[in-house]
């Protein structure tokens, strides 16, 4: 089920804390929200840029929450998420620092919701654009307790030092048996309120697997200058047990871009296929630059 960003009890939402407010008086049938993501040093690379897995994670949080609000008193589960980064914000100062996420619902049908999120930096430069589809469902125990217009302004982060560690540590990422395989240990802080693995965690582990494959360096080592520039994730079944294995394979190349397919499986649940993703990894932006 898509992560909502209500904070308490949702580890990923607390780790990637983002105040969110609904634009307008809360009566619009298709809500419009805005999130202000304050970048912290432990979350970003040396230039101050968020990795694509984390970007997808915060887009999933605000997109899922806004889609859910559109469906009250029902709620939603993310079925797929597509993200593209702006090519002029992949290197240099553009696209670094605090980010604004602007989310609009494009469609609210009987059984699904489609939302679009545009991400900009402090100067208003586009950083990425995403859209996601959610399925509408009626959760046991009812939806999260939202009142409209939505105001989520909590910034409190738990005392546990794990919430101030690098993403590799927070998401409990480990290397698989070869470059291109990343493993995530499922812990309570990575689950959503319904006890299943947060969609953002899936994005993080498959991003790590894709970059590891392309660089040939065991995940989850940093890959400066190697960035997933576009990504589409199809969430097929919930992650419940773990460890979760993300296995990336190369489909082909286009100049300095590598097309990668990633399958994500719940190893502890009979290797059930949890997600399928296709990513483009750019390799010409830093020390891993290659001449393909």
């Amino acid at each position: 089920m898509a992560g909502f960003n209500a904070g308490e009890g949702v580890g990923v939402a607390m780790y990637l804390a983002m105040p969110i407010m609904e634009i307008g008086d809360g009566t619009a049938p298709l809500p419009h929200t805005r999130g202000e993501f304050c970048v912290q040093d432990h979350l970003v690379d040396s230039e101050g840029r968020l990795a694509t897995g984390l970007l997808a994670s915060i887009a999933d949080s605000i997109g899922g929450m806004t889609s859910g609000v559109a469906c009250l008193p029902d709620w939603i589960v993310t079925t797929n998420l597509a993200l593209r980064r702006a090519p002029d914000a992949l290197a240099g100062p553009r696209g670094t620092g605090p980010l604004t996420l602007d989310t609009r619902i494009l469609r609210r049908g009987r059984s699904s919701v489609v939302g679009r999120t545009d991400v900009t930096d402090q100067a208003g430069n586009p950083v990425a654009t995403t859209w996601m589809t959610c399925a509408v469902l009626t959760p046991a125990g009812g939806p999260p307790p939202f009142s409209r217009p939505v105001r989520l302004d909590h910034r409190e982060v738990p005392d546990d030092p794990i919430f101030r560690t690098r993403p590799e540590e927070f998401f409990a990422l480990e290397a698989g048996e070869r470059p291109g395989i990343a493993v995530l240990a499922v812990s309570d802080r990575l689950r959503n309120p319904w006890g299943i693995l947060h969609g953002g965690s899936v994005a993080v582990v498959l991003d790590a697997a894709a970059r590891s494959l392309v660089t040939g360096v065991a995940a989850p080592a940093p890959t400066p200058g190697v960035i997933v520039t576009d990504l589409v994730i199809h969430y097929l079944s919930p992650g419940r047990v773990g460890p979760v294995h993300a296995v990336a394979e190369t489909i082909g190349t286009r100049g300095t871009e590598v097309m990668v397919r990633i399958s994500v499986r719940d190893h502890g649940a009979d290797d059930r296929l949890m997600a399928l993703a296709i990513a483009t990894v750019r390799t010409d932006l830093g020390p891993f630059a290659t001449d393909r």
């Binding site: 090519p87 589409v232 082909g252 097309m259 296929l273």
Partner: protein
Amino acid sequence: MRLLSLETEQFEDGNIRGWLPVNNTIATPTGGPRLAAVAMLVDALGGLRSISAAAPDWAFTADMSIHLLPTGPMKQLQADLYVRRRGRRTLVIEAELSADGVRPAGLAIMTFAVVPRPEHLVNITIDMTPGRRSMSTLPPDQPEAGPYFEELAVVVERPGHVVIELRPEVANTVGALHGAVHTAVIDAASVSLGQEFLGPDAETVDMHLAFLDLATKGPMRAVATSVGESIPGQDRLTLSVEVFDAEDRLCSYATTEVVA
């Protein structure tokens, strides 16, 4: 669909393979098929595969992503389709694309919404027996097809802006703009804007598309805008594309990547 002379082969296990002949009416400057034509193949095969996968229910395409690799010229594009998930309400199908069945040409993934079979489709009969067959071709007395976008009557008004009239030839069975024709206007809008920034050889190589509403009132407009600024000397452009009907309803939304 008739323009493109698609062929399909159904296997005993329900899986499907299909082919798109690649000629100069659909080829890009680098020789591969343009994305809009690939989308027609993938959409047609996906729809066919969904019939048995969703049975006894029905399935409508909800979204589609297509990712193309540079292949150079080929005789035909082959697509092999596999069901990756059949849930209560969604169906996910993946298509592996190859040039002449031997060189990787890309991937596509489609999500279908599974719904109770609509009344008007309850008695529909579709030949699902194993074997290879044509998915319909132009009658022999028809003149040879011209360039794909011209045949669809996609009109580029200015870079990034295209229109198409809703005619029976581009409509689906309920009279709305055919899903694969959405991809054609999205491709055309993307290429036209790409040509403005990248030069005449611009082609769309990647698309994430969400279908939002039936487009039943023409003409439809596709509007492409750049995500970020074009970088001088760069060979790619990232775009978002919106397709509106005559009443300004947003009917589909896509992001694309154009390269030259």
